[in-house]
Symmetry: C2
Subunit: 339 residues, 2 copies
């Protein structure tokens, strides 16, 4: 982050026609984004682009989700047809939606640029019995994420939003969060799309068992992603790194993105400067991950859908924080007295 | 609220391509708005209109604010010139901004329809020594708010947003909240635009003293508004009533609007059905008031600016909640399997 730009943003906030500090979290956010861009005011974060990374999970065989695995592919179709919640939210926010197949079990496809075929393999292996991915597969997914971020920025995007789709993907997310933060499986394993107590207990045991089996080393982020991660998690880690490398802010959605953010931060700690936590997912692991990263979520609406929906809802808040620095009059210019 | 429309919204939410409940607070909000409109889906809340009611306060003479009273009139000029934070936020959200002078001490003015001259008197009397308003003055301000709401709806607005400007207006807001909820002055008196400990203690004593002097009776809402309120508070109460009468949702901004909402609810309890709490103001009285009304704020960003800024930031969340019912595909239509 550029300290001069951050200081300039703080100084400008103090001269605008409002009591100092009265915009709460938006003021510090504007300072962070100035630091990221290296200029004050930072560019307005528009247009915005959501990338939904989709993948399937071998651990689905353990019965951690009540939903059939085929729903991942069906929802990819729904995204491409514009019928999912993320499509509605993105339309409202004026954001594009790009669906990236990094590992859906079934064949999926659609026209570019809305669809990117980057399937590394047709779903991960079952992390309950073996590593989910080889290191090469994990790296390939990370590289896909980096590439997609770069292509969206090259296409004009000035802010990126993380999205994900993958039945059972909260199980690897919980394992990643436990591995990177040291938290216990019980503290980071949630109910995902909605599971009963017995399934939740079983899912927690699967996460704890995977951690015991693989003993993932947080100092080896690729190894962690390979052992207990998912292809969309790895791709999202790359997407976050790609945004940071381009100094473009990236809104982190829910628990899948938060787990990926831990991997990205482990690979490149400075990447956190580009991350804006969109919302506090109802999944407990998201809160653990964001706290570990030092990120405070903008919204807290009890959402747990994924797809990028929480990031899309937060986008106007991010834009408003920046817009203040562009458009609000100073006390001097407006002829308003100061206290 | 229309129970059939609410049931239809709940049933539709369950058929849309997302796990049940995964949109958290947005789902119940969509149900409430269906009930208000009496139809499912309820109309998309656009276009939106912000009304900023401006007034001054005799209690300013007690030294409850560090800002000079002239700032109220200066900020009205800033609103009309488009330079304030609410202007920036409203432009982003596609909302109009109407400034209503219900009681600014100095002469202010501007071209219609951005400016409405409805000055009841040039600032209230000092509630520390006498009733702030006569009953007739309070009623006139309430009627102005009702009229402005009706005119905005007649002009096409499908959602209204409350805004306020008035140096020292958190002092009458605290008194109103104490009067209507029974809370102690110390629990509802905040730091407004930012005051030091000594001024905060003095402000709290002024509020407590006014409550002791006037003994406002919550069963007589107009009497409460007259004794310890403000002209913008009374007008906002009317604005909320006017929105409810037209079955148009109205986003409640911060502590000034929340205090007015208590008055509106005391006059017509059903009016709460039209209210959406935009954000949790940093002012403690706002939280007390919203809890009393049974309203959960959508955002919690530590903001305390007023002007309608928190309502404007919440507007996309409200729109997104309704948009889901209009645009998201059902499991059947999208060919997505259910669990």
């Amino acid at each position: 982050p550029d300290a001069d730009a951050m200081a300039a943003a703080r100084e400008l906030q103090a001269r605008l026609t409002k009591p100092a500090g009265s915009l709460g979290a938006l003021e510090e956010l504007s300072v962070r984004l100035a630091g990221l861009a290296g200029t004050c005011p930072p560019p307005l974060p528009e247009p915005a682009a959501v990338a939904v990374f989709a993948g399937d999970h071998g651990v689905h065989a353990q019965g951690v989700s009540p939903w059939p695995q085929e729903v991942t592919a069906q929802m990819v179709g729904n995204f491409l047809a514009g019928g999912a919640v993320i499509n509605a939210f993105a339309r409202q926010a004026g954001a594009s939606v790009t669906v990236v197949d990094v590992g859906v079990a079934a064949p999926v496809g659609g026209p570019a640029p809305a669809f990117v075929d980057a399937k590394v393999r047709a779903g991960t292996r079952d992390l309950a019995v073996e590593p989910a991915l080889t290191r090469a597969e994990a790296v390939a997914a990370v590289e896909t994420g980096i590439r997609v971020a770069g292509e969206l920025v090259d296409g004009g995007a000035r802010i990126l939003l993380t999205g994900d789709m993958g039945i059972a993907n909260t199980t690897p997310a919980a394992a990643l969060i436990a591995a990177f933060t040291g938290a216990a499986a019980a503290d980071v394993t949630g109910r995902g799309t909605g599971i009963d107590d017995a399934t939740h207990a079983h899912k927690t045991a699967v996460v704890a068992g995977a951690l015991a089996r693989h003993a993932p080393d947080p100092a080896d982020p690729v190894g962690v992603l390979a052992a207990v991660g998912g292809l969309e998690h790895a791709a999202l880690a790359g997407f976050l790194l790609g945004a940071a490398a381009r100094r473009v802010p990236v809104v982190v959605d829910g628990v899948i993105a938060a787990s990926a953010a831990l991997a990205a931060a482990a690979l490149a700690p400075d990447a956190v400067a580009a991350m804006v936590a969109g919302h506090r997912s109802a999944e407990p692991g998201a809160t653990v991950a964001l706290a570990h990263l030092g990120l405070d979520p903008l919204l807290d609406l009890g959402m747990r859908l994924g797809e990028g929906t929480g990031a899309a809802l937060a986008l106007p808040v991010v834009a408003a924080a920046v817009r203040v620095l562009h458009e609000v009059a100073t006390f001097d210019a407006a002829g308003v007295s100061e206290k």
